[in-house]
Subunit: 194 residues, 4 copies
Amino acid sequence: MGTTRLEAFSDGVIAIIITIMVLELKVPHSPTLGALQALVPVFGSYVLSFIYVGIYWNNHHHMLHACSRVTGGILWANLHLLFWLSLLPFVTGWMGENHFEAAPSALYGCVLLAAAIAYSILQRTIIKVQGPQSSLKAMVGNDWKGKLSPLLYLLAIVSTFFWVWVAQVLYVLGTILWLVPDRRIERSLSHDGA
Amino acid sequence: MGTTRLEAFSDGVIAIIITIMVLELKVPHSPTLGALQALVPVFGSYVLSFIYVGIYWNNHHHMLHACSRVTGGILWANLHLLFWLSLLPFVTGWMGENHFEAAPSALYGCVLLAAAIAYSILQRTIIKVQGPQSSLKAMVGNDWKGKLSPLLYLLAIVSTFFWVWVAQVLYVLGTILWLVPDRRIERSLSHDGA
Amino acid sequence: MGTTRLEAFSDGVIAIIITIMVLELKVPHSPTLGALQALVPVFGSYVLSFIYVGIYWNNHHHMLHACSRVTGGILWANLHLLFWLSLLPFVTGWMGENHFEAAPSALYGCVLLAAAIAYSILQRTIIKVQGPQSSLKAMVGNDWKGKLSPLLYLLAIVSTFFWVWVAQVLYVLGTILWLVPDRRIERSLSHDGA
Amino acid sequence: MGTTRLEAFSDGVIAIIITIMVLELKVPHSPTLGALQALVPVFGSYVLSFIYVGIYWNNHHHMLHACSRVTGGILWANLHLLFWLSLLPFVTGWMGENHFEAAPSALYGCVLLAAAIAYSILQRTIIKVQGPQSSLKAMVGNDWKGKLSPLLYLLAIVSTFFWVWVAQVLYVLGTILWLVPDRRIERSLSHDGA
């Protein structure tokens, strides 16, 4: 099996995840700006998760691009990643509706952490299948972002026991970490387009 | 990276947005035509937004068609556009349920305005990547529709402070502006089919 | 523009329509078979609509297959068809929840009628674009099914004023009409596979 | 017709099914871990169904891969399978919300059984179309997993009348049966990649 259908299926699931999250923004019954104001935290958590899903789609895309052969192990490592991402709408809604309180913020971090671990497992599975000349291994390099992110989420989970706002700051930092253009990826992209 | 997967992902998200909007049409519990009548404004706002999303899908399609190389900047400019479009179901439901009152109508205009700006940013990003011989730049021409639309939405937002119905008229005008067949695009299409 | 992305987008929308209809089957809170029994009419209307959407997907697929060039007119005729299909989850839920009473059954027929007309408009638009040697025109032939269906739905709508059950019988007949294997299409399919 | 669009449509429907199941995990209004605890059975049933849908996607993918020609019979056998899979979110939610009681657990088994039968019908339809030299027939072999699964579900349904927990054990066994790597499929995959 080539990666085409794996990509298509993953794209479908990620597109649905990113879009159904907006359903947690429940339409208020009154037409006042006050009714809207109550939704600000839900909206904030929606923006945060939208960016995270966007980053995952982006990275997932590049990872599969470097992979040409799909085994049963890769299939299930991929579904494992999609499973954790599918929980994002739930934890996003819970955190937003409860104004970023401790327990929901910690659970949000747990899902991010689990997704990061699942991503890393998928990456390792592909590299292992590709063998010593793995093109993905070369592309990923030392992968300091992939190693730093789980630590960030772990720190955020722990911080919810003391100061909840620290967790939010760390979650935002986590997105900035990946949003800053990455020379490696840009290079690989321009190679592709050339 | 080519545009194939970017197109596929955008198509997925837009297809979901256009379809989940219908979920705001809540099934009434009584089987009378009166129960249905209460849904007329929600239905009206649904029709309006369906056309807007259709126009965006259409234009987005032609824009990406003229683009052959995808950079990180294009990826994120595209996600930025999808973000604003993903808010359409929410503002559509709010405006419809509250019978086109001032605040929801203004917010509807804000989302349309933000989407129009995001579209224009994406367009400029692609043109910049393509360089001086940009085929998209040639296709878009002076882009008077793209320049007029944001003004229309801005006017609509302002008008909600005085006469709300003016905003609705402007939103309808905004769809007509794009629905009228465009010779440029028809030409480009027939070229394609030839 | 080729038909690839039009097909992909339509497939996406139809796949979502066929799947979100199941959300009208609201999970009952009690674990008894009695709670399930109350859902039987909703389930019945779901089965009916699932088959209708399946038929539309099937026919739509064959129609686009015979079409190689997409114009703005075809794009919008296609979106017009998707619009009416997108209302099916709503009317399915209304009809099922209200045990096939007159008004919801009539509205169900109206949406089927509108979708049938939209389908016929799309068909005529493609044939017109293809010109006198239209391959779609040859494939469709005298199109007696396409002509009989709207009459059936119209009859069903009228019958809801007198005997509601007649409408249901006609809706079921409408699916059988299309489910019975069609020699023309089978031929065209086997040609394809050959 | 080739299998491309049949695959794409099935992928879309399966991607939506696997993702909307998470909507049954209703966001609790209180931010306590206790509120989360009440969701544990719903989460458990979600994990179970996620794995089942993943297995179906996986197997469906390999089956269609071995099929090159699509007839009307295959189309409808495929929609028949998608129909039963589309009921999984409903029965998953019902079983989870009611803490794996007898009636919902039995219904869950009925849907799994119906999906397994539908899968087997689709498989036989494809093999019949391919004729005596069927490549799918060779790939499937004696299909002991496909024969054992329905028996397992049947046993689970019966067991709900006596000890409900036995049914759950059997459902978990049913996933393990398919998750254990299959030498045949791995072989066919590595062939593909070679």
